[in-house]
Each structure stands twice: as structure tokens, then as C-alpha cells.
């Protein structure tokens, strides 16, 4: 039995296969629409989510399976003080695979230690969000042909943005050697992660203060949301938020085949008029998340393309 708690739980070959099967499903979804017939996904969301929850629900239904669960911890026994381990043990009798989101960091790992069925981490606090990483990778492969070999810049909140941390680490594992980082000083990539990237993967990190310094040179521009509550005072936030806003004007000299990605939700860091630009793929990115999650469910349940012969 396998779990997906962090991207490192899968080898590079396994990640690439999930991405490739996700693309196959995208091309021909009908061929896969019965492979989870009779299977149940327990969707345990101890804190709110829009995309992750609904894309998992949609993924399981498109595979012919069913979904049970809750979208709010107040409607579960956690409210009565039940331990996570007990909730998870019991779920093993009701479902075949679990996806969970939890505000406490490390909660999905704890769940996996007590579960008799596969556990997928749907996000744990500011820690890990491995299926967002899979979503990012399938999007990169769909639009750029390969996972690695592209110049990439990350922009926005690089300190607390868990999607950025997971994706940078995974791309470094795939052999990407250079990353450009655009963020306010207060929201730079954490030192421990920088040290890990440099020591373990010999990665070069280029930090620049403005997106205009780098946007014309990269193949992928990955935007993230800057949250007001990350700043000590509103004045700093207001001063900085426009510097980290992507507009059509800033894109005028960017490569024509560059792609703009964003894990969503977007607030105001990408101007709405960028949505019509052919380089903007963030909504398609959300779409691809469903297909890569379908491939992941198939892998963990060992059905369809992952059925044991």
C-alpha cells in the first residue's frame, strides 16, 4: 500500500508516469470512466478548500467511483474531540482511499501511520501540497513538452507559499539547475530551503526585486498570491502589492511561448486583462489538476493502467 504525503514519496519515474497517464486520460477520458467502479473516495477536509476538494471529487466520479466525506471539521467527530488516528482507522472500513486536508502540519503523515487504505495529502497547513505539485508538473509537460529543461521564475510570496516550495524541490530533483525568485524581502524563500536546494541539488538561485528584471528571459512564470496578513502593517502591503502585480504591459517583451501559471485563488496579483493572453494557462492548470488526480487515484488503488497483471 502506498500513500502520497509529500512529493518525495514517489520516485521521479513514478511522478513522470502519473503525469503521462494524466495526459492520456485528458486525451481520452472515456477509456477510464469505469476503472473505479465500486470504489469509494473518503474526502476529509478539516479546513475549507475549493479546487482541491472539488477536483478530487470530480476525479473520482469521472473514474466511475463514489465519494463520501465532509468539507468542514465541524460536521465530523473531530469536533467532539475524536483523535485523527481514530477517525482514519474507521474510514478504512468505509472507503478505499482517503484524501485529506488538515490545518495542522504533519497531520496527513500521522493519518498514514494509522490507515489501512492509501492516504493522499490534500494540503497540511503551510507544509506540503503534493497534488498541487503534480498539477503544476502535468501543466508544464502539456504546454512545454517536458518537465525539466525550462527556465522558470517564481513571483510573489515565496516564504509561506507551500506550492512553490514543493514545486521547486521537485523540479530540482528532475534536474532543473536554475531558478529566478521575485519577491519582497519579507517574503523571500526560507533560508533552510535555499540551503537544501544548494547543498543537495547544486541549484543556482537568482533573487531579483522586480518581475521586469527577469520576465523577458524565462519559459515559465509562476505567480503566487501575496496575502495582506503576511505584512506587519497595511502601508507596506499597499506599497508592495502593485510591484508584484502582473499586467499586460509587463508582458510585452516576454517570450511568445512563455506560460504564466498560478495555483489559484488569484486575488489581484494578475490583472484580469492578462486572462485573454495566450500565455496565461492558470485556468487550464486547474483543469489539468483533475486528470492528474485521476491518474493518482488509479495508481494508489492499482486499477486501470496500474492494475496488477
Amino acid at each position: 500500500m502506498r500513500h502520497l504525503i509529500e512529493p518525495e514519496d514517489f520516485s521521479l519515474e513514478e511522478i513522470e508516469k502519473v503525469v503521462d497517464i494524466g495526459l492520456e486520460i485528458y486525451e481520452n477520458p472515456k477509456a477510464f470512466n469505469k476503472i473505479c467502479d465500486g470504489k469509494i473516495l473518503a474526502s476529509l477536509f478539516f479546513e475549507p478548500s475549493t479546487r482541491t476538494k472539488f477536483s478530487f471529487d470530480s476525479a473520482m466520479m469521472r473514474l466511475g467511483g463514489n465519494v463520501i466525506g465532509f468539507a468542514d471539521a465541524d460536521t465530523s467527530s473531530a469536533k467532539k474531540g475524536e483523535s485523527l488516528a481514530d477517525t482514519i482507522r474507521v474510514m478504512g472500513y468505509y472507503a478505499d482511499v482517503i484524501v485529506m486536508r488538515h490545518p495542522k502540519e504533519g497531520a496527513p503523515k500521522l493519518a498514514s501511520q494509522y490507515s489501512s487504505i492509501p492516504v493522499i495529502n490534500g494540503g497540511d497547513g503551510g507544509h506540503q501540497h503534493p497534488t498541487q505539485t503534480l498539477t503544476d508538473l502535468i501543466t508544464i509537460k502539456k504546454y512545454k513538452g517536458t518537465i525539466s529543461g525550462h527556465s522558470i521564475a517564481f513571483c510573489g510570496d515565496l516564504k509561506y507559499g507551500r506550492t512553490v516550495h514543493s514545486l521547486i524541490r521537485t523540479l530540482a530533483r528532475f534536474g532543473t539547475k536554475k531558478f529566478a525568485l521575485v519577491s519582497p524581502e519579507e517574503l523571500r524563500l526560507p533560508e533552510t530551503l535555499k540551503r537544501q536546494l544548494v547543498d543537495k541539488y547544486q541549484v543556482e538561485l537568482i533573487e531579483v526585486p522586480y518581475m521586469e528584471d527577469i520576465i523577458d528571459e524565462v519559459d515559465i512564470f509562476y505567480m503566487t498570491r501575496i496575502q495582506k496578513e503576511r505584512f506587519f502593517n497595511e502601508a507596506d502591503y499597499l506599497k508592495l502589492k502593485n510591484s508584484f502585480k502582473l499586467t499586460r504591459e509587463k508582458l510585452k517583451n516576454a517570450k511568445p511561448d512563455m506560460i504564466i501559471m498560478h495555483p489559484l485563488p488569484r486575488v489581484n496579483e494578475i490583472a484580469y486583462d492578462v486572462d485573454d493572453d495566450q500565455r496565461a494557462v492558470y485556468f487550464e492548470q486547474s483543469e489539468m489538476g483533475v486528470f492528474v488526480r485521476m491518474a493518482l487515484i488509479a495508481k494508489l488503488l492499482e486499477v486501470g493502467p496500474y492494475a496488477r497483471s
Binding site: 483523535s83 488516528a85 490545518p103 504533519g106 503523515k109 500521522l110 497547513g125
Partner: protein, 142 residues
Amino acid sequence: MLEVKGIENGIVIDHIHAGNGLKIFNLLFTDTEQPVVLLMNVKSELLGRKDIIKVENVFNVNLDLLGLIDQKITVNVIKDGRLAEKIITSVPKTIKGGMKCHNPRCITHSDDYAIPVFTLVKANGKLEYECSYCEEITVYKL
């Protein structure tokens, strides 16, 4: 000069840096019902001044925690009045129990099932340990 008798059975924690003895006593021996002697500021060739703790009828002590606190500590196990074993503590590579994760959002603070294992990631000057659940770094401080 102050004299303290040797013990027949138990452990002697020696070569504790002067000042750390009371902290170790508070961490490890406040609940014991066995006789404990804490000697402070004893002359030492190695350290100048040192602390010593003698505990009767106890043979197990959390060596990881001692290694974290002070890397020159020796633990002498005494049986029938004779030295049965001499253990020199070292910085532990992993620690289970005795340390709390520095990250307030970590599951280990709210679920009794989650007992973190800490893995040493850096020991140069600071003892930095990674939590097995949230992967945040906790710097050990006595």
C-alpha cells in the same frame, strides 16, 4: 572539603559543565523516589569546575538528552560498588521524546498519537533538528 559517599548501585553522571547540573536534575530526576545527590562546582582537571549527579538504584537514563545538553558528560553505571559500565555521551543523531517541535502549527502539539522523531541536520555551533511530522527545524536549547 565536602565529602559524599560513593553509591553501591546506581549511576553517576560526571563531567557536567558547572551550572548544568541543576538543569539536568530538573529535567530528569524531579519525579524519582530514589535518593539523588547533586554536587555543584566540584574541582575538575578537565573542566576546571564541574557538576556531578549520583542516583541510587536507577540504571537507565535518557542518554540522548544528556548528549544534547552537554557533550562531555560521562555516565558511570555502578553495580555492587564497582564500575560496571562507563558511557560517554555524544550528540544524538535522532531523538524521540524529551523535545518539543518549535513549530506551533505542528500536529505533535495537538494529537497525543503524534510523537515526533527529530533528526539532526546540523551540529555546527547550533544543534538543529528536523521534526519527522512537519519538517520544521527546532534548535535545541537547554
